[in-house]
Amino acid sequence: MYTEKVMDHFTNPRNVGEIPDADGVGEVGNPKCGDIMRIYLDIEGDTIKDVKFKTFGCGAAVATSSMVTEMVKGKTITEALDISNAAVAEALGGLPPNKLHCSNLAADALHAAIKDYYDKQEKAKG
């Protein structure tokens, strides 16, 4: 049912965990099945230095979280904002049709974390 790539990321997820005092944290819930994903970003200048995630969800949700963290590590914020749900699914060699909504979760959590970073910057500026 899942590709080898998905199973690999599910079995050995990259970047699991949290970043204490992260520069940006994004949490989204899946309205379809009720799953939750949280992404932590460590940002220096314009670059995503480190990224971690925690996910409560199916195999596809875990694999897409893991994949998205791999895709953004070391990238600029602009590059990260360009990463779409479809790109994450594609990088995993595709997902079963009824699991496509799980990949939305990963990209959405990433974008939410970036927004949180911007919000914090704004606040700091006062």
Partner: protein, 395 residues
């Protein structure tokens, strides 16, 4: 790698004795039981013997057995056939919230087509109250359908009492006994039923075969028309090898049931107690003890999701199932767990192990060795688990 099959409520392997008997009726005695020549007659004879075996297992007369393509078709025939036959008497139907989809969807269809449907709730263990049934029965109620044992949580309903009540009130009583057959006694007279559904592939017979028991005197309008087989109740050339296999499977199950149930109960409790001992934040779903099927274990592992559990178990060779939304095509959690009042998050981490004839203590111990490691790994990934721990720590 060790492979442990713990999904016998989904389906069972065909008993080798059953399979070899069936083979004869595919390749040698392949006649059509409606033909008058010897090829047809040897198939007819075996078919009627199977009817006696199935009837004998449930305390029925052979003439009261109609073979179908499985439990689903038998459920459909019972409900649609009786609703149509008795529509002049009334149009009110009653069932329960924890039935199999073969029952629920069929009733839903009728509810959209001029019938009135009452769906009875269950308690937090998945059990029905007899009083609730009594209150739901009206003068225009024609049909009541209650499953004997639940396929997800193994809850055994007070079917005999409900049947007595239905008979008093003149309501036709149908029971889906697909999951109870072969595990606990199923007798149409003791249970006071008018119609009863059974399926072959849950008792080590072939898939695609089932039967509906219809008490003599109950009217039923057929749902499949054609050559008039099965006393016109279900047309179509009979699946002779399958039916003969089902008959044999009934005979074997009848002989083995008492010993098997005792063995399965032991394994069930070993597995359930072992899980509760080794893993924190686990909840048993369904009743414990005698009101639970001997082979059913269903637990919710909090803070993890069921499909992740199933995938991880499968990677170490263990086959189980889950009521998580993520494992269902519709992305809704199990309707059974929701009907028991379980919040979505808890239904999410539900895990069903259904034991069978070939399982051993070693199988159970293998699960008890693997599952805690899997849960620990998934909880380390879970945002809900660390949140819970933080909140607990704050207190």
């Amino acid at each position: 790698m060790r492979r442990v099959y713990l999904d016998h409520s989904a389906t069972t392997p065909v008993d080798p004795e059953v399979a070899s008997l069936m083979m004869t009726y595919y390749t040698e005695k392949y006649g059509n039981p409606s033909s008058i020549h010897s090829f047809g007659q040897e198939a007819r004879e075996a078919l009627e013997k199977a009817r006696e075996q199935v009837a004998g297992f449930i305390g029925a007369q052979p003439a009261e057995i109609t073979f179908t393509s499985g439990g689903t078709e038998a459920d459909n025939l019972a409900i649609l056939g009786a609703a149509e036959a008795y529509k002049d008497k009334g149009k009110h139907l009653i069932t329960t919230a924890v039935e199999h989809h073969a029952i629920l969807e069929t009733f839903e269809f009728l509810a959209k087509n001029g019938y009135e449907l009452t769906v009875l709730p269950v308690d937090e263990e998945g059990l029905l109250s007899v009083d609730g049934v009594q209150r739901a029965i009206r003068p225009d109620t024609i049909l009541l359908s209650v499953m004997h044992a639940n396929n997800e949580v193994g809850a055994i309903q007070p079917v005999a009492e409900i049947g007595r009540l239905a008979r008093e009130k003149g309501v036709i009583f149908h029971v889906d006994a697909v999951q109870s057959l072969g595990k606990i006694p199923v007798n149409v007279n003791d249970l006071n039923v008018d119609m009863l559904t059974v399926s072959s592939h849950k008792i080590y017979g072939p898939k695609g075969v089932g039967a509906l028991y219809v008490r003599k005197g109950i009217r039923l309008v057929p749902r499949v028309y054609g050559g008039g087989q099965e006393k016109k109740r279900r047309s179509g050339t009979e699946n002779t090898p399958g039916i003969i296999g089902f008959g044999k499977a009934c005979e074997l199950a009848q002989a083995r049931m008492a010993d098997e149930a005792a063995k399965l109960t032991g394994l069930r409790d070993r597995l359930m107690d072992g899980i509760l001992e080794r893993i924190d934040f686990v909840k048993v779903n369904g009743p414990r003890g005698a009101k639970r099927l001997p082979n059913n274990v269903n637990v919710s592992v909090q803070y993890v999701e069921g499909e992740s559990l199933l995938l991880s178990l499968d990677m170490v060779g263990i086959a189980a199932s889950s009521g998580s939304a993520c494992t269902s095509g519709s992305l809704d959690p199990s309707h059974v767990l929701l009907a028991m009042g379980m919040p979505h998050e808890i239904a999410h981490g539900s895990l069903r192990f259904s034991l069978g004839r070939q399982n051993t203590e070693e199988d159970v111990d293998y699960v008890l060795e693997q599952l805690p490691k899997i849960v620990e790994r998934l909880r380390r990934m879970s945002p809900l688990f660390d949140q819970m721990q933080r909140e607990a720590g704050a207190k």
